[in-house]
């Protein structure tokens, strides 16, 4: 837009009056950004402020009242449950991250470097992304017939003679929680990694082979370093989705495990909003700290 004010002579045929009516570029930009700013202001910034305020409020059994007290935070930090639940949250995040990274990288690598025609690349890529546009809850429910006590996994293992009795830890356990996370979120690794890989200059890989590198050496010393931005973006997605989750953990653990999100949703269920808000503030700070650290390794705006 700056170009048009710099070169008025280029459109000398245009009436001068019209040029005079043109708004400064910054004004136009503000108008264009206003709807976005309005939505995010009303439904993101205000809610966060509200949560921070309410986290200092007090609560009775059935109502909440304005106050300025640190009781909620004191209780939160003095309870051993808090530390256990935060530990659990990090545990889920780390294991899920490792699994999604391994699977996501391999899938993206196959798509980007082993599938040769662009049409096939797009088709197979879409095949990976379609589940993302369907319901997460249905995708969780759909593990029941697979992992249940009399589910497919158990009956298959029994018929093969691997086990004599059904495994109890398949469904409603940490295992099923992480399995569901991997199932739901691997896509968030595949997409950014694939995107970065597609932009790697193929001549660099040829150069690596010409210089005598093996396939593994090329992978480790050329492709992985060049894919790092994609890996970082995928990491941000997966870590934040897992850390903020409450529904997968509740459903897939059969309410037997807890993470921070569940702690918040339990408090909400008991109408203890101030306590939920305090936990939410701590969770938000934790997530933002993690993101802050990860963003040091990648410039998101450059990678789009």
């Amino acid at each position: 837009m700056t170009a048009e004010t710099d070169t008025p002579t280029a459109s000398s045929a245009a009436p001068a009056a019209r040029a005079g009516r043109r708004l400064p570029a910054a004004m136009v930009a503000w108008f264009q950004a206003a709807p976005l700013a309005l939505v995010l202001g009303a439904f993101l910034v205000l809610p966060i402020i509200m949560i921070v305020i309410v986290s200092f409020w007090g609560a009775t059994e059935y109502s909440i009242y304005p106050a300025f007290q640190f009781d909620n935070y004191e209780f939160l930090f003095s309870s051993p449950v808090t530390y256990k639940v935060f530990f659990n949250t990090f545990k889920y995040a780390l294991i899920t991250w490792a699994a999604t990274l391994l699977i996501g990288f391999t899938v993206a690598y196959f798509l980007a470097f082993h599938v040769r025609s662009l049409t096939w690349q797009i088709a197979l890529f879409l095949l990976c992304t379609i589940p993302f546009w369907t319901s997460n809850i249905i995708r969780m429910i759909s593990w029941i017939p697979f992992l249940g006590r009399n589910g497919i996994a158990n009956s298959t293992l029994i018929s093969w003679g691997v086990i004599d009795e059904p495994l109890e830890w398949l469904l409603f356990s940490d295992f099923s929680v992480i399995l569901a996370f991997v199932h739901l979120y691997t896509l968030f690794m595949v997409v950014p990694i694939f995107n970065t890989m597609m932009r790697i200059d193929r001549s660099l890989i040829e150069a690596s082979y010409d210089a005598g590198a093996t396939g593994w050496q090329t992978l480790w010393h050329v492709i992985v370093p060049l894919t790092k931005p994609g890996i970082m973006i995928g990491t941000i997605f997966v870590i934040t989705l897992v850390m903020g989750d409450f529904i997968t953990v509740r459903f897939m653990s059969g309410s037997q495990s807890a993470n921070v999100g569940r702690l918040i949703s339990n408090d909400i269920g008991l109408l203890q909003y101030p306590s939920a808000a305090a936990t939410a503030v701590v969770l938000l700070v934790t997530v933002l700290l993690v993101i802050g650290i990860l963003l040091r390794f990648v410039d998101i705006r450059k990678e789009l």
Partner: protein, 279 residues
Amino acid sequence: MERRPRSFYILAAFFALFILFLYGPTITIAILSFQGPQGGLTFPMQGTSLHWFRDLFQEQAVGDIWGSFRRSFVLGLMVMVTTVVVSVSGGLAFRKRFAGSAVLFYLIITSLVIPSILVSLGVGLIFSQAGLKVHWASSGFGSQLTWTLPFGLLIMFAVFNRFDKSFEEAARDQGATAWQTIRHVVLPIIAPSLIGVALFGFTLSYDEFARTLLTAGSYNTLPLEIFGMTTNVTTPVIFALGTLTTAFSLIVIGAFLLTVWLMGRRRARQGSDAGKGMV
């Protein structure tokens, strides 16, 4: 064509397993939803029937499925249109330098990474403290936008980063106004990406759960209704519902992808529309 290395076959097998992992469970419940009337939530099938689908159409059996579907559909359309308009407008804004753009950019990222339950809780608190009733079309609508807009904007950023500015310069040199340039040059070029944004807007809203949980009010959207069912329904009727709503999602996705493909083909066939006139 040169021979494929052995690693290709290993990776192809891995990829096939991954696809099986992605789709297997959904296919399983699709099969089980045709379970006979005596059948349970797992194999073996006790005969096949449409019993559980019929159950869905008897409203009293499982709550207000159709009402919630209607609400989710309307909400999905509202979110879709708003997401496209706001994303395009925001995307255009970010091509210029303006005060506060960095802050706005980080707000978009925050909107994406913030735990969904915070949006739900915060919006719910604001409405209750302001004495307003939460409703899916007001508070629910706004909360879902905080989830769909970041995706829309990230797509727009990606599109405009690759946009060839000489098209606009050419239009301007021909005497087009700023609005004419956007309307007749920019929008047609980015149209396929807008279909993509619309796809994200609709499907993410249609399936959204966490941000709608405390903001939908007394009338549930479909995902909320389904979640309610998971706690008290222990028959394959829930699989039938899952199968139907997944089928619906797949039809919607298919329609969007088909549109993009047809647009691409038409464009390839016609090539440039130079000299054909625009009015």
